[in-house]
Amino acid sequence: MNRPELQAMGERERERQQSYRCRLLCCASTPCLSSGATAVIETLKQFIKERELDANVLVTATGCMGPCSRGPLVTVQTRGLEDVVYEHVTPELARDIALSHAAPEPKALDRNLLAADSPFFAKQKKVVLSNSGLIDPERLECYVARGGYGALAHALREMTPVEVCEAITRSGLRGRGGAGYPTGLKWDLVRKAPGTRKFVIANGDEGDPGAYMDRTLMESDPHRVLEGMAIAGYAVGAEQGYIYVRGEYPIAAKRLENAIRMAERRGLLGGRVLDSSFSFRIDIRIGAGAFVCGEETALMASVMGRRGQPSPRPPYPAQSGLWGMPTLINNVETFGNIAPIIDNGAEWYAAIGTDKSKGTKIFALAGTVATTGLIEVPMGISLREIIFDIGGGIPNGRAFKAAQTGGPSGGCIPAEHLDTPVDYDSLRRLGSIMGSGGLVVMDDTSCMPDVAKFFMEFCMDESCGKCVPCRVGTVQLHRILEHITNGSATPRDMETLQELCVMMQETSLCGLGQSAPNPLLSTLRYFREEYQAHILERSCPAGKCTMDNVPPLEQGADLQRRARSTTSDAEVS
């Protein structure tokens, strides 16, 4: 396939789509599927067939639309009407929707409507997710119809690899995996690194509790990731790419595999991409359930079929990665940003966001917030806007307590910092990190030492065991937090806690161990009085912890006290 053929393919698909009077787009992403989207899609398809509306109505299973807690979602595009989104769609409602919209005089229902001008949609800016929820992820034509693979065609024809790297550098894009390393710089390092072969890896091993940005992108718009990887391959001189997909994401892996096969069949991947001299193959590697494999050196070990354990850097993957060759590793979401940058220009991208953090970021909004789901916002938006405008605030009249960003490597941000702009550097200053984009909102029923304990338990389970500080440190920290939350901690434990945290940050081998104390340190910083209440007053302000133990040295006194109280009770009775 060459460039004119690609454009013709897009044109054909657009004409096909416009030939329908109404298009019913049903979300078939994991959250909606788990709330019953399969039945909705089946019902709609059958209903359309029964009523012989095939020529007028098209039912499409698409990717994620955003407000996941309101699923199953159905978007209806009707000729002559505004697009509308229905929430909590049942098979019965789906039939009504189809009837009402497919009628000769179409009309939107007045039930279960999600207002298009609600802040949830209005405050977002979709760059990476621009196709998500509008295209069928299993059809290449749908992606091409929305300009897909145009960026790859443009890069291959009109740009040199150096120019591609420069464009990415100028765009100011930073790695979306969490650390925020400038992407253009990384590409340039790999491009310049000497090596007979080079590799590109997309990191889709997303493991933070409550985060599912990468999964959604891979499920909703797999070709965008492939296109980004191919452009990266062209820019750095690689002919082989790997997508490392988390083992718990079978739908994403299936759709990616399907997408790779489709693209290879049409000559958009594989040998001689788009009739150029550039060849690029992509293979999928499925993870086996280790969080640490999201760390780049561990991920590469896993791709090579070895035990998924990190190794010390330097050498960095850009010099010596897969099988000792220069390797470019970027997050799936980073690759999702590449095609829009090439399409619209680096300056367009650099105009979005803040001074040091450009573009948009996808967040998985979770926890105690009215609407949870997947959102894409420009960098620099305040946490308050995300939680109270987009998320609709805290339900049940409770008060906001903290927002946890960055998963087990991040921290908790208290209410007084709600107006901080969300970008890499501001969050780091607050003792948290941007992370891959998990955002868990907590109300005043959450106990912060308990939250810290949850994340420490996660790190303890996921520590690979290679280095001592992380392997034993996480266990010891978890023990102390357990003592604090069950009432048997002493003031000494606070010192040990603090000292161990700093030591782990400085001495651990990889990012997992170095950042494992972050949730604990940030809660110590902002909610120290809660820890003190647990230790000194043996009470849990949030009422979450049972506090039914006593410190070992006070056990004798406690027993005596209890014995006295039972005898006095007996006397009374």
Partner: protein, 238 residues
Amino acid sequence: MSVVTLHINDELVSARSDQKLLEVIREQGIDIPTLCHLEGVSDLGGCRLCLVEVQGSSKLLAACVTPVQEGMSVYTHSERLVRYRRMILELLLSERTHTCAVCVTNGHCELQYEAAELGVDHVRYEYLAPQLHLDASHDRFTLDHNRCILCQRCVRVCDEVEGAHTLDIMGRGANSRVITGLNRPWGDCVSCTSCGKCVQVCPTGALFFKGSSVGEMEKRHAFLSWILNGRERKEWQW
């Protein structure tokens, strides 16, 4: 081979450019503790005892895996480093059951030696003391997980020097265990050549010859270099 110059504790020293920091530091007669490092096998960087401060790097670097660089300035014994080394040893001692008084390597144990060197006279952390089993199914050797510090010396020597790869690690985090074969009793493992290299390189009493009693298991530290010198340089020193 080009030569680089660098500062170690403010002393100007020169080194070959393919050397690792640890080697250069030791050549200077500076004593730096290690547990997972073993001359003759690849480096792991896992015990974190050989961490050093390198000027210009925000992170502490493990000397055993860090290549020397022209003009680098290294500090090996700052107050912070010594404190961290002590804490790492305390963590190691708290992880399993290290009761020297009943241990076969008492008096010849590298963990015990490093702890004494660094002045670790008590452990501030809770002893985890997991009740782990002991594999005595092999004719000549015993593997006691309760004394294992997961330095993986045995795993590496079995794979890289003997070429048998009988030993490996399974599980992760605190649940990591050295396993023999595909987690079979050691005595059943047909891949084991009973060469005993793993026993000789084990820094603690986790691997020992059957029949040794308290304090009797003395490891021959020259064992590995003797084999490797013979193999690679044909220097056999009987």
